[in-house]
């Protein structure tokens, strides 16, 4: 997977990237942000920015062995490793939970 640019965001102490041309919008959500890409909304603590020219390489053997989520590749940004995620195969720990309806449930 390689794109011209990626939107980078922080979540769970790590740095994550999604192809910019997949991003529909970034919206406030609960205490953080939701990065909406395709039909997926990723939960984000912070959006770092958009970067071009990332060298994305396949997931190393030992990441695939011990992390069963479908990451799309690894890259470095400013000396920090980041995981590229594919909105068509989003890692469940990063999905933004739907907003509570706020209504009273039917009994």
């Amino acid at each position: 997977m390689s794109a011209a640019s990626y939107l980078l965001f922080r979540r769970g102490g790590g740095l994550w990237g999604v192809a910019s041309d997949e991003v529909v919008r970034v919206a406030p959500h609960a205490a953080g942000l939701a990065v909406e890409a395709g039909a997926t909304a990723f939960a984000a603590d912070e959006v770092v920015g958009v970067v071009a020219g990332l060298a994305v390489r396949p997931l190393p053997l030992f990441v695939r062995r011990f992390w069963s989520e479908p990451g799309a590749g690894l890259a470095l940004h400013a000396g920090e490793p980041l995981m590229i995620v594919d909105p068509r195969q989003p890692p469940p720990p990063f999905l933004s939970p739907p907003e509570a309806s706020g209504g009273t449930p039917d009994v």
Partner: protein, 145 residues
């Protein structure tokens, strides 16, 4: 004595590394670098053996928790001040990986015949002096022991 070479009559060179309450032996030929603990970024949802990702030599590097790989007790103050970067995995697909550990101790020779066979990436156990050492097979790292 040049310990970087294998000396059949004496054994193979291994780097002893302390991980929690255990000491393990890594083949010296597979050790790329011993560095102060790399800054590790966790991967949510990862198994506990994968401490996270770090930057090393301009690449993203997976860092494994050596104590958890060994199933070793973590000891009283688990801080993992050292990262041992090794080549690991099947020979034709080997990759650099970091092993978070407590201390790199010394290089010793371990005779193959002195290793009581284990399973998976744990090649076996051997006595080095008065110390029981777990000898690792890094080509099989990542397999269940």
């Amino acid at each position: 004595m040049d310990l970087s070479q294998s000396t059949p009559a004496l054994g193979r060179s291994h780097l002893l590394v302390r991980a929690g309450e255990q000491v393990c032996a890594l083949p010296v030929a597979a050790v790329r670098r011993v560095v102060r603990a790399l800054s590790v970024h966790p991967l949510p949802g990862a198994r506990p053996e994968l401490a996270g990702l770090a930057e090393f030599a301009g690449e993203a590097l997976a860092v494994l928790d050596l104590s958890r790989l060994l199933g070793a007790p973590l000891g009283p103050h688990p801080a993992f001040p050292v990262t041992v970067v090794v080549w690991a995995g099947p020979l034709e697909r080997r990759e650099a990986v970091g092993l978070a550990a407590d201390e790199a101790l010394e290089v010793v020779l371990i005779d193959d015949a002195a290793v009581v066979p284990g399973a998976g990436f744990l090649r076996g156990d051997a006595m080095v002096g008065a110390r029981l050492v777990r000898v690792l097979d890094l080509e099989r790292l990542g397999e269940d022991a």
